[in-house]
Structure formats: C-alpha cells, structure tokens
Amino acid sequence: MATATDVRPKLDVRDLSAFFGEVSAVRDVSIEVAEQQVLAVIGPSGCGKSTFLRCLNRMHETAPHARAEGRVLLDGRDIYDRDVSAVAVRRRVGMVFQRPAPFPTMSIRDNVAAGLAASSAARARRGDREEIVERALQRAALWTEVRDRLGQSAMALSGGQQQRLCVARALATDPEVLLLDEPTASLDPISTQRIEELLYELRREMTVVIVTHNLQQAARVSDATAFFLAGSLVEVAPTSEMFTAPRDERTEAYVTGRFG
C-alpha cells in the first residue's frame, strides 16, 4: 500500500470518511504519504478526490454540514485530535485552490506575505518580510515578472500569474505539506508548465499532494499516484507502475481513457 520506506510517513491516513450531511463523499480511505514525495490523486469527476484532499488540512469541515471521521496523522499526531486546532494544522499544511484567489484589496507583496500575518509566531518572522516575499516569488517562478511592481494590485496580474502568486503565498509560510487542488485546470499551457516544474522541484523540501484530472500531468510530476472512484481508494502505487501496469482493472480502464 505505501511506497517502500522505513521511516514514519509524513501523512498517515487511517479509515478516513467524509460526509456532507448524510451523504458520504469519501469512504474508509487509508493511505500513507512519504516525506518529500509528490502524490498525485486522480479519478473521474465526483469521485471524492477534492474532498479527500480538503480533509488533509481540515478545510472540509468549513463547508456547511460537513464532517469527517477517522484519523489523519501528521508526523504521527492526529490532526483531528480534540486538542489540535484546525488553524494550527493549516499553518503546517498549505493549500492552493483550483481558481486563483488573490486578495483583491492587497498588493502583490502583501498577498504573498498574507500568511505571515496569520499568527504571532509568523508575525515574529516579519522582520525578514521582504526576503521571504522575494524567495517565495522566486520559488513560484514569478519573481522576474513582478519584481518591479510589488506594490501594484494583485488583480493586475494575468490568470496564470495570479495562480503562481497563490502558490507563492502558500509557500511563504514554509509549510511542511503542500496540497494542490487541480491548480492548473484553468491555466494556459505556459503557466501550467511553470507550475509543474515548480512541483517537481518542491519535493526536495516538502511533501506534496496534488489532485488532478490531467493524467499526463500526474505522470509528469508525481512519485506515487492514488486512484479514487466513488469515494473509495481503489489503488495506490508508484507512478510508473500505475500507468504501465495497474493492478486493478478499474484503474486500468481509467488510465487508458476508457472512461473518466
């Protein structure tokens, strides 16, 4: 089930189920994500992959009537534990959404630094604010395009640039895990390529889980791939195996394009 490793996985999901009211969206999912690994989550529309992703940083529960059951261990500690605050979890696990959502009343600089305002600990690092902003923008491959206009409104950027800005914003807080929900779905090919390059490099520093409906993208950027269907985890395997020799026939049907 997991990729071969002797160390404790970064994320250890055990019997995770997620509901919207009475409707079950994710059923009894158990999966391990190794440290500094990129895991791609694929599956047809409505299979629960986005819901699953949102359970990993406790964003799922922000939807009306939503709840989750099961355990998600981050470095061995359950994030759904009573003593753990969702806010603390989200400072360690960052997220980039499908549609770029820069804060419209803030400049580019302030957008990137927005995460630094979230907590007193983060605010303490404010001293190196300019450095942090520059570094985050560089990692997001946006620095050269905006270095001269950091004070401009974030809304002046193109869609692809805005999404990279959102990536920079998520990176600025130095998360241990980065979750991406179809980040390039609404982007042009060049922006898509830049973000994929970024993801490929990010694995050296953090753990990444990316939901995507683009199989080629999954094949390009990930180390391991998980296939979801109707709320359940069907199969997880190293990416090369998943696409060449999947074990489950449903997986095979999906990756060869027979449905989805």
């Binding site: 959404f97 804060f103 305002a117």
Partner: protein, 268 residues
C-alpha cells in the same frame, strides 16, 4: 398606452426639476459668505446666517455615525455569516421593518429615554436618535456587501491558517469595504436631512454650540423654523438653507456612487 407610460415618466421627472430650479433660484440669491459663518439674526437685522446650524448638522452626523456605523456593520457581519440561524432571520426582518418606521417615532423614542429623564434637550440625544435610524440601513447594506465576497477568498484565508475572526475582519470585511462605505454614505445622506427626530431631541439653538449635552442647531430644524415664520427675510434664508442642505445631501450621495465605481475598478 405607450404614450401614457412616457407621460408618466415625464410627469415624474418634472417635480424634481421644478424643485431643483426653485432651490437654485431662490437659494442662490440669498446665499452669501455670511450665511456660512454668521449666527441667525432677529428679523430686521441684516446679515445673519446658519453657520451654527451647519456645524450642528455636522456634529449630529458625527455622533450618529459613531453610534450607527459600528453597530450596523457588526450586525451586518452577523447576518452575512450566520445567515440561516433563526436569530438572523428575525433580525433581518425586523431591520427591514425598522427601516420603514416614521422618523418622528424614533424622535419620541429618544425623547422618552434620553431627554425626559434628565429634563434636558441635547445634541447627544439627537445624534443617538439619528444613529438608531442608521443602524437598520447600514446593517442591510453591509450584509449584502459581505455576502458578495466570494467564498474562495474566505477559503484561501482559512487555508493560510487564519482564524475565523481574522478571516472575517482582515480579509472579508476589507474586501467588502468599498460597498460598505457606500452603504454608510447613503445612510448618512438620509439622516442628514431629517428634521422630525430633532424636534424632540436636539431642539435647536440660536447660538454657537458644540457641546453634546446642550441643545444644538441643525440645518433642517432651522429651515423649518424659518419656513413657517411670517417673515420674508427668513423665508429667503430658509431657501438658502435648503440649497445648502440639498447640496450636502447630494454631495454625500455622489461620494457614495464614486465609492462604488472605485470598488469595481479595484476588482478588474
């Protein structure tokens, strides 16, 4: 039939043009520098103005805003964020009903609670009566503006590790601010012209006064007093006052529209 409809539109626009024309004509002739800087004079004396009334109106607006804006914005936030709770539905309905109550009733309310117990008219009572009128207006416009903030923005903030209250204040409220300011300005324009509540609270004052504990002059009050008087000289002053008052109200309404356009531009 179509002709009737066009006629209706024309007949509707007519009174406004008539009023504005008269205001300009009658008001402009009586308007001079003195008007803004002098106190009301007895009949027969030359000069005289409504300087104290203009200041008084500004002070009343200030007090009213100080009371009405925080409460209205807070209540609006509540309605937008706890939309479907029973309390929210009740508050929303009652706010709409309060919006339609006669302003004179609000004056009586302030009189009974703030004037009668101390046997004293005051600017504070007037400001609070006006502020109370502002609350339901600002509440509803704030609610609408906050609801317009797209959910992805909220989610983005939460995902960064913002707590609920920080998300609401530094992201959502900030994003909706332009629209909220517009709503506030519209409410202020509304109460700036109110007279009835002031009859029982601020009461009017012939002298310069900025004290909140004393009666205070106000432009609408002064216009009313002069308009119903038998003196031509005072009638002229009433027109001048009306011109200034309408000018103030229109300026504030204009500022509100500018704020809307500004907000749209920031979002492009």
């Amino acid at each position: 039939m179509q002709a009737l409809v066009y006629l209706a539109a024309a007949v509707t626009v007519l009174p406004l043009l008539a009023i504005l024309l008269y205001l300009l004509k009658q008001g402009a002739t009586a308007l001079n520098a003195d008007f803004f800087t002098a106190l009301p004079q007895p009949v027969g004396e030359s000069g005289g103005g409504m300087g104290n009334a203009i200041i008084g109106t500004l002070i009343l607006i200030g007090v009213a805003s100080g009371v009405g804006l925080p409460v209205g914005i807070g209540a609006g936030l509540y309605l937008a964020e706890r939309r479907s709770t029973r309390l929210a539905m009740i508050v929303r309905f009652l706010a709409d009903v309060l919006n339609g109550l006669p302003s004179i009733v609000m004056g009586i309310f302030a009189w009974e609670l703030l004037v009668r117990p101390v046997h004293h008219f005051s600017a504070l009572a007037g400001g609070i009566a006006l502020g109370a009128m502002m609350v339901p207006m600002v509440t509803r416009t704030t609610e609408e503006m906050v609801r317009l903030v797209p959910t992805p923005l909220r989610e983005a903030a939460l995902a960064l590790g913002y707590s609920n209250w920080r998300t609401s204040l530094s992201i959502v409220l900030r994003t909706a601010l332009g629209g909220i300011v517009t709503g506030a300005l519209v409410a202020i324009a509304r109460i700036a012209g109110e007279t009835a509540p002031l009859l029982f609270t601020a009461f009017g004052n012939q002298f310069w006064s900025t004290s909140l504990g004393e009666p205070i002059a106000a432009l609408p009050l002064q216009i009313f007093t002069y308009a119903i008087s038998p003196y031509d000289q005072w009638h002229a002053q009433a027109w001048a006052g009306a011109l200034v008052l309408v000018g103030i109200v229109f300026l504030i309404s204009l500022a509100a529209r500018v704020a809307v356009r500004h907000r749209h531009r920031a979002e492009d």
